[in-house]
């Protein structure tokens, strides 16, 4: 039984409920105990770093102070939260002129959930416990921006062409296709304020994924998942086509391959229904 601190972030309590449930189910199965950080607060997201850098660091930093007090390394499923926590950690640990007034010891580590679940020991565990290989499922991995960039902040070993999700999904038996848009931007929070920009960026992703022969796109960030899933019908209509590309969280595919009970509990919350695809390859 491993135990690790857990920073869910705000969207996992709301629109990304499917992501949260699949994470909990997969971690239960892998006997990873997620200990939610007590009284965690919002990382500040794009709003805080756009309007006031100092507030952004202090908001994210408060969570790091709590984690240190609890003596917990933390995993973070949301790519943006992860990025904000890493930036805050670097800034607070190098705060020589005490700009932020929030001392940190540097005793804990912050992991992106995908990075954590694709470490060699867990991948071995996943291979050992595989009950339902994802045979026949052709997927492209979409990493997005925030878990990797900028590497000086995220400590990502490969940022232009990351491969950890590709390798994890290959372990699960999926046919993982290479494609050039692994880390391209989906437009993030512009979805609310400038959907036109998001539609343009996301359409390019769909077109490439389809051209590559993918059945689905796999994400590790709930903002990416939302932007690719929620507006797919509208984007298709605007482009005069229909994409029908289910957008999975990598944890959902882990859950299916590891034999989690009733994966439809997460999958039915998607806008693009993944069940027809899963049925067609004998996985549902």
């Amino acid at each position: 039984m491993h135990e690790i601190g857990y920073y869910p972030g705000c969207t996992l309590q709301g629109t990304a409920r499917d992501y949260r449930q699949s994470i909990h189910d997969v971690c239960d199965l892998l006997e990873i105990k997620l200990r939610e950080l007590p009284d965690w607060n919002c990382c500040g997201a794009t709003a805080a770093h756009s309007l006031d850098e100092r507030i952004a660091v202090r908001l994210a930093g408060r969570n790091l102070v709590i984690a240190e007090r609890e003596g917990l390394d933390i995993v973070v499923p949301c790519a943006l939260c992860f990025n904000r926590l890493k930036v805050a950690q670097k800034r607070l640990l190098n705060d020589t002129d005490r700009r932020y007034g929030m001392p940190l010891e540097g005793t804990i580590q912050v992991f992106d959930l995908l990075d954590y679940l694709s470490r060699p020991n867990i991948r071995q565990e996943v291979r050992d416990r595989l009950v339902r290989p994802l045979q026949g499922l052709r997927a492209v991995c979409y990493y997005g921006c925030m878990v990797n960039r900028p590497p000086k902040m995220t400590d990502a070993p490969t940022w232009e062409n990351p491969t950890n999700m590709d390798e994890l999904l290959a372990d699960l038996g999926a046919e993982v296709l290479d494609w050039p848009f692994k880390t391209d931007c989906c437009g993030a929070s512009h979805a609310v304020t400038h959907p036109d920009l998001v539609f343009e960026l996301v359409r390019k992703l769909y077109d490439r994924a389809v051209a590559q022969g993918a059945h689905c796109i796999v994400a590790s960030c709930q903002m990416c998942q939302a932007n690719l899933d929620l507006y797919q019908e509208r984007i298709g209509r605007l482009a005069g086509t229909s994409y029908e590309l289910p957008i999975f969280y990598f944890t959902e595919l882990m859950g299916i391959a590891l034999g989690c009970r009733r994966p439809d509990r997460w999958l039915r919350r998607h806008m693009v229904d993944p069940l027809p695809l899963l049925r067609s390859v004998g996985l549902a």
Binding site: T11, N41, L59, R62, P150, G187, A188, R269
Partner: protein, 204 residues
């Protein structure tokens, strides 16, 4: 600030230094390779390209930069910062310029939906330490005045349909969650002087 074609363009070190003092970012290191712009996913919607923003800062043309659409179009994807061979944090510059436009009252929530969204988002955090997505979207529509625009273009119905679809999938939270120590959160946010609430546009 008007520059005619004949006027010599010279580096204006005062502004470059001011930016460096505030952010630690050295714009004078730029040699205009345009790698930042070539990798930027959103140039199609920008009035100035990222390398031009850097260049304008070097030339002291702060007003143009602070009024540009580019700083709000930037999605903070960090591609430019990651790739700049001279270690210039261009995304950090965009953030700095947004904060300055905010601090100096150059932007207004009405007419700049991105800014309106950031503001209601931060207000939400100040209120309970966590963001409550359902309430946030409503306040954003009011504050930005976007509900009117959406009504006129007919896109409000699409949004309502999407909202309903999310609701029926139980993805719209009904009740906000908050942190226990709200006072601590307020002190984190309010200690900063900033001009956050100096604008006189509030009617929401």
């Amino acid at each position: 600030m008007e520059q005619t074609a004949a006027a010599p363009l010279e580096v204006y070190f005062d502004l470059a230094e001011k930016v460096r003092d505030a952010t630690g970012i050295t714009v004078t290191a730029c040699y205009q390779c345009r790698k930042c712009t070539n990798g930027c996913p959103l140039t199609f919607a920008m009035d100035y390209y990222p390398d031009q923003i850097v260049r304008l800062l070097l030339l002291g043309r702060e007003e143009e930069v602070l009024h540009s659409a580019t700083i709000w179009v930037c999605s903070s994807c960090e591609t430019c910062t990651t790739r700049c061979p001279n270690d210039i944090d261009i995304a950090g510059l965009m953030d700095h310029l947004k904060s300055e436009a905010h601090r100096r009252g150059i932007v207004r929530p009405k007419g700049n939906p991105t800014y309106a969204f950031h503001k209601v988002f931060l207000d939400d955090i100040a209120r309970r330490g966590r963001v409550f997505e359902s309430g946030l979207l409503n306040r954003y529509l009011l504050k930005s005045g976007e509900w009117k625009a959406k009504l006129e273009t007919g896109t409000l119905w699409g949004d309502l349909r999407l909202g309903w679809a999310l609701f029926s999938r139980r993805r719209l939270p009904l009740f906000p969650h908050g942190v226990m120590n709200k006072q601590e959160i307020r002190s984190l946010i309010e200690e900063e002087p900033g001009a956050a609430e100096t604008e006189g546009d509030e009617n929401t």
